[in-house]
Amino acid sequence: MTVLGVLVAQNIAFGVIAAIMVFAALRLVTTRNVVHAALFLVVVLGGVAALFLLMGAEFVGITQILVYIGAVVVLFLFGIMLTRTRIGNEEGTDHPRRLPAVLAAALVATITIYAVVTGFGDAELPADTRTTTAEVADSIFSTYIVPFEAVSVLLLAALIGAIVIARRN
């Protein structure tokens, strides 16, 4: 499976996933159909999950599917369908003047890509970086116990906040 020390299958997989992701991301920010945008978001998020699996981060990948696709996107779809149910393209999804946004995005892309290219050159990822769920759990419940607790409190606060904001009267 290796050519001159390069993992062929993984690289092909990466190429395919990356192409799909970039396409879906571009469609996500350009489509004028809000539901389609949410579905393109599913594709991007699925791609990210696949990348996680590719890098051996199995647990994070599955969490990505469960939380992002199973919950976040469903929440989006719910929000869209609760507020408007028109099928097809909508008016006024974009600003009329988009050039500043394009420029800003291009600037961001240029500087970040320049930074990573000059910074990391052709650094290789280690071949076998599979991590087990137990390792993740051990890390969370020892080193990162305080952030973990903080996040749980944050979730509670967000839960209450969302209910209070969205409640009628």
Binding site: M1, H36, V42, T63, I65
Partner: protein, 344 residues
């Protein structure tokens, strides 16, 4: 190109075989469940006549139905969002397919023995919500949208008790790997006697009950079938679907029932293990599937028994049951399990 050819081929062969098996299991499972339970058990329980004409005892009825579906015209509603409408059943079916990836039927007879297998199965099951919402929205039909929203609300509400019920088992086994859960039950001891292992239903009966109820809701079948309730919203998100797309939904539903029954038997009934044998023996790769099949049928019988005997709930009763009964109960179960696990 320095391919390590033999291994590479074996890898693809293996993958291909596994894919074919999975692809076969779903229609087979759907047909068996549909035939045995939907046609026969229901007709006995509800004192109706089941189909008797196609084949001996009507055994070929479902095949005939399948052929009928495939022959039908592929209809798109005029104002439907074509892509979304067309993709929705595929997404639902895909979610079903993914469930089988981690379902073990023997020590090595599993498509992909993931380290977090149970977690993966639950994540895969949650994907079907997207498909249902797509179907409901893409059909450009009020009833479909209502059905889709109902289904999504129901699936989300009952995913929590489903996950929480399984966590009791996870705590007891100390792993998310489905095969290791089976092994933990096989190697368990009942009051110091290791003769028959320790199926977790003995301690996790609360979890088992919650799991079955939640599965019932996940399958959107009676008594939790408001999303497709014909008498209220004429079929819900499935209303505009015909032909093979409807068949996809059908297969998805019964395939998911089959898979969840499998997961339930792995979690609570000891999976492919038979008491009295050595769980590491390679023979289990052969007899495991049959053992699993028997257990799946037993659990399915329970699931369908509920389906045929309970009347439909109201939408608010459904949500109340999930949030006020099942989730607190499941949380309590987790707390008790955790405390006992730490103390013992």
């Amino acid at each position: 190109m320095i391919w390590t050819l033999a291994l590479e081929l074996a890898y693809w062969q293996q993958t291909a075989i596994k894919l074919v098996v999975v692809a076969l299991v779903i229609p087979t499972g759907a047909i068996i469940l549909g035939y045995v339970f939907l046609m026969k058990m229901m007709s006995f329980m509800q004192s109706r006549l089941g189909p008797m004409e196609a084949g001996p005892y009507g055994t070929l009825q479902l095949l005939a139905d399948g052929v009928k579906f495939l022959q039908k015209e592929d209809v798109f509603p005029r104002r439907a969002d074509r892509y979304v409408f067309a993709l929705a059943p595929v997404v639902v079916l895909m979610s079903t397919f993914l469930l089988y990836v981690v379902l073990p039927v023997g020590p090595d007879a599993v498509v992909s023995g993931l380290d977090a297998g149970l977690f993966f199965a639950l994540a895969a099951a949650s994907l079907s919500v997207i498909g249902v919402l797509m179907a409901g929205w893409g059909s450009a039909n009020k009833y479909a949208l209502m059905g889709g929203m109902r289904a999504a609300g129901q699936l989300i509400a009952y995913e929590l008790p489903l996950v929480l019920a399984a966590i009791g088992v996870v705590i007891q086994a100390g792993t998310l790997d489905l095969n290791k859960i089976v092994l933990a039950q096989a190697n368990g001891e009942l009051f110091g006697w290791g003769g028959m292992g320790f199926p977790y239903i003995l301690t996790q009966f609360v979890g088992f009950a919650i799991f079955l109820v939640a599965v019932q809701a996940e399958l959107t079948q009676p008594p939790f079938d408001m999303p497709v309730a014909e008498s209220e919203i004429v079929g819900g998100y499935q209303v505009e679907y015909t032909g093979f797309r409807f068949l996809f939904f059908f297969m998805g539903e019964f395939g998911t029932a089959f898979a969840f029954a499998g997961i339930a038997s792995v979690l609570f009934l000891g999976g492919w293990y038979v008491p009295g044998l050595d769980p590491t023996s390679g023979w289990f790769n052969l007899i495991g599937p049959f053992v699993m099949f028997i257990k799946i049928m037993a659990v399915s019988a329970l699931i369908f028994w509920f389906r045929f005997t309970f009347p439909r709930l109201r939408e608010d009763q459904l949500q109340k049951l999930a949030w006020k009964v099942l989730i607190p109960l499941a949380l309590l179960n987790i707390v008790v399990t955790g405390v006992v696990k730490v103390l013992v």
